[in-house]
Symmetry: D2
């Protein structure tokens, strides 16, 4: 039997950390050897997430003063807050350059460190690492991810919007100045830090937009859309909070270019993803629910004709904690370690 | 003391019927004298809606063979299914021409009976009444409603989208060929008839679009937007179902015309609704939650700048059962009977 | 026209404070002249609760250094945390002895200040006021409340359990050593202070018991049950959190004494509450939903026979923020000021 | 490689059917060869449950006129309605006696066919099969299940109550005439057939008891509790509906017998289940949430002292569709086929 890869989850007390542990516990070729959580250091994982009570897991430790060479990890997943991650990874790779890193924060997603400074309000702390960071949208950058040491796992909103739009932009099939992305997210996307606006009673029985005109995920969208189109693309993007735990639904309004019909756009997407295990394009005219992907690494995409001549409505759905975060992170790990790409993340959606 | 107006609620076993009863029970100048519900005829209202158990209400009767002259109503509210309503109202007004009617169905909303036939798939059964029907968007058609005998209460989606867009279209302040209305509704909008897709387990913990490119409310939008703009307007409109009982949120993407900024659009709306008791325009940049209007007749509207140059995002929220249906119906009744417009519908939103 | 009573709401930034404001804004004989909220002092109420944006309300001020004589209040509602309230009320009544106080905290609910010290872990700070404090279960202590200056509004769990059990205990109709109260509460009962366990994602899609064997509301239950029975009664009581905003359901298991059947118990309750506007006893065998009382001051009670010979199941439902807190507080204010008892709190339940 | 077992799921269009398919699709030693659904015969599984769209599954067929010998099944799971199942299984076993059957209906759960007739209102149609039917509570009847041809999978409520109570009754550690089981279930327990009472808007934002004093699951409880205790046991049992999809929580009130403390009861349960993979007893005083077992085959049990001397509160939680139905059915299949008991059902709970 092959030796298992040893895994560290940095930031294990958040939802993406817990989701990594949920999936890694059943991955046949890995072993969790390190869990960090600064404010909860010294506690058992079951004290932080009681659903892990039946399982043996390492005690939570602090990342402060960690000796990364001694940690002997094959892979580190970083589920740390934006901004601090870059410093942690810099130290980690300095002390243990052979560790492969999948970073779930936004710190290494923007190739342009100036754009990073503009959107995040401070200079990047590890600009020398940025050139080797690969944007981890698995289906698009698979080849580079296989060779990468440092993968910047995409954001949940951006994965939902990029998977349907990148093939269309690459094919120059849609107008680039009229794209509207109306996105709706479940509450786990807002994290686990207690804030009044995230209390059950503030969230249930209602819906609202937030960050209108200024959400940080836009920087990622700009980068990837522009790269795919070969020209500057700036889309309208509005995120909303929905009273559900998991799931993102993006309703995307586009206009076909040079007579491309909604049906043509559907064909482009169906062809692009025909062989992908984690992207499923529905028959023309059908659109997905977030319920149909809950708990799974699947993305479902539907395309329908708008009644406005020449326009199409594209709906994309995924689980923000799986394909939108931890599942895609493991998909990337599988690519980086040469494992079968679907290993450990083949769970069928939990419906209802 | 003034004699109270006698009221009939036709279709009292649905959610809009129950909402009418909730509000009318506390309206100081009306008395409910008739409740109809064909499949539940003979039952008490408390058997159909147990929250009415503490109140005295007339027993449910069938509409079949009703003698409308004998019914001696001042006002009839029709919460009947689309299609059958026109026949009921035709008979009612023939037998008792002095009754004032507020119809909550779609039957008299389209001024063009050909458009009705096209969207609903059958010829209108009371085309001779259509000319006198007034579209009951209270803030826009107040003057006509005061003199009307037959008011066609607007749809819930359309009220949400029309209140913010009509003043902008009238002012020729936005481009008319790039309007996107992304609407999100609570489940009471889908009615009370049992269908698999509306079961709790099919709805909770998820969101989905439906009727993409072909929802019937579009006919109403076309009519009112075109009328306001003075030219044909066809907007993109996609409805979604959200796991909540009440509320509609419309996120509307527009482009300012002739250099109009988002701030300019805000000023137009703030001015248009400055004195309205049931439309509240938030300070520029703030957007409403559906939670903030739950159970009330209030509409809240916010305007923010999109980061895409020249574009704005408008968010509009109301309670689909109140301002989107029964509350606005009572607002219209108040206008028709010469009561103070806000009487009986001044409840403050129930939050949380 | 009669001069309106001037009202202060101390602790207006919590849910019970907001609920007081919602109801008082539409009460015909009061005027809100003071809103306090220490951490939010200086803010507008609309910044803390955006659903109040359309209404004129006093700015939030701090309670620190308040001159109560100058405040010129007729009534003060205290929605402050347990423990600090007693100090605030002591100062308030010293400076302005004519103000009537309805306290929504637990501070004056226990007649025995020793019991208070035992359950709350510190000596009572205003023991000299305790003797005049009337326990504000309106239906039971109406006569005393009318003459009271200081009313201790009951807890939400306890109101739910006491309304059905006190008449049965007074009638000596049930065994006192076998009472089980299994209570289920909506999340607003847990307040608005941000805690991880109250986040939407920690609460939705699940149910749990908490405080098993040791919830503080038990002290109140002991006091009232024992008083009604004329002997020491200690009931089993387990609270649960349900993913809903409002509502408490208590499922109560009792054994009839001396051959009393479930039907006999039903008769006792139906008789006791026959004329009460805010307690509705359902026909024998029917049990209420919390949905049927949402947003209203109504309590609904049902009694059914258990299949276990001699036992009955009683189900009691109310809205924890209305009859369980702010609505009953206004009911008590009405009694104290000689207003009609139902004034301003006659809203019909909001269903769905 | 071993040949895979061929599996039929009868009644695949219900929630338990879908849950079987979800789990069996990833079970390494089975293959789904037959899916039946009478009203949906001829449809694809993806038309009935869109979350299966990405997977290859047999088309739905009718059970009418099925040739069971030709079906060549190793195992049939029956997720059919109560009452019709007995006739189906009778024909199936007559035509293909070697097929192993796991029945998820109530048809073969009651050893006494007279009790069946009493509770279900009609004579049993296959009384000759009843003697060989094994009650499929895996942890309790494991030895018999291994040799069984026909397993009657327990109900969801009963599994939740029996796992904690059977060891205590066997040990004669609790009084048998004072047991109260207050159970709370998610909505998938009510099935997928559309009924008004199960609509989202009728269920969300509320809780209610139902079937008070007369739920059919009581027959199963009586049978198993009495068998364990060696004497007639009749417990109080009240089911409730909670606005969540999955999960059952049973709050159980017991009195220790002959001085047994809550701690003693905890010890008995902790010992009984120390080695069980699917029953986890929490440390004394801790109680589980349904959230901690969602989507998994785990049962979590907690024991706490009641403040009433001599009484204890036991809380038990499981996922009604997994351990309460389809997961335990596969656990039983594993036992019947000699597979490792945990195979295919080791998923970690999906939280949040």
């Amino acid at each position: 039997m092959t030796k298992k890869a040893t895994i560290g989850v940095l930031g294990a007390s958040g939802y993406t950390g817990a989701e990594l542990v949920r999936l890694l516990l059943r991955h046949p070729r890995v072993e969790i050897s390190l869990l960090t959580a600064d404010r909860r250091a010294g506690m058992e994982m079951r004290d932080v997430f009681p659903h892990f009570a039946p399982y043996d897991l390492p005690k939570l430790v602090s990342i402060e003063g960690m000796d990364w060479a001694a940690a002997a990890l094959d892979v580190a997943f970083c589920g740390l807050p934006h901004g601090t991650t870059q410093t942690v990874i810099k130290k980690l790779l300095a002390e243990a350059p052979q560790i492969k890193v999948v970073d779930l924060s936004a710190d290494f997603r923007l190739a342009d460190v100036q754009a990073y400074a503009r959107w995040y309000g401070h200079a990047h702390q590890a600009p020398e690492l940025q050139p080797e960071a690969i944007y981890g949208l698995s289906e698009i950058y698979r080849r580079d991810i296989k060779k990468a040491r440092l993968v910047a796992n995409p954001g949940c909103y951006t994965t939902t919007a990029e998977l349907p739009l990148i093939p269309l932009l690459k094919a120059k099939a849609i107008e680039t100045d009229e794209i509207v992305v109306d996105a709706k997210s479940g509450m786990t996307g807002a994290g686990r830090a207690p804030k009044e606006a995230m209390l059950f009673s503030e969230v249930s029985e209602g819906i609202n937009a937030y960050g209108v005109g200024k959400h940080r995920h836009m920087a990622e969208l700009d980068q990837e859309f522009s790269k795919a189109a070969g020209r500057d693309v700036v889309a309208s993007f509005t995120p909303h909070l929905v009273p559900m735990n998991r799931g993102i639904l993006a309703t995307i309004y586009v206009r076909g270019r040079r007579g491309r019909s909604a049906q043509d756009l559907h064909t482009i997407l169906a062809d692009a993803y025909a062989k992908e295990p984690f992207v499923h394009v529905l028959p023309f005219g059908e659109t997905p629910h977030t319920r149909h992907v809950r708990g799974s690494n699947m993305t479902m995409i539907g395309v329908a004709a708008d009644r406005v001549e020449g326009r199409a409505v594209i709906v994309s759905a995924l689980d923000n904690l799986v394909k939108g975060a931890s599942g895609q992170a493991i998909q990337n790990m599988n690519l980086m370690l040469g494992f079968p790409e679907t290993m450990g993340i083949e769970q069928v959606a939990l419906f209802p």
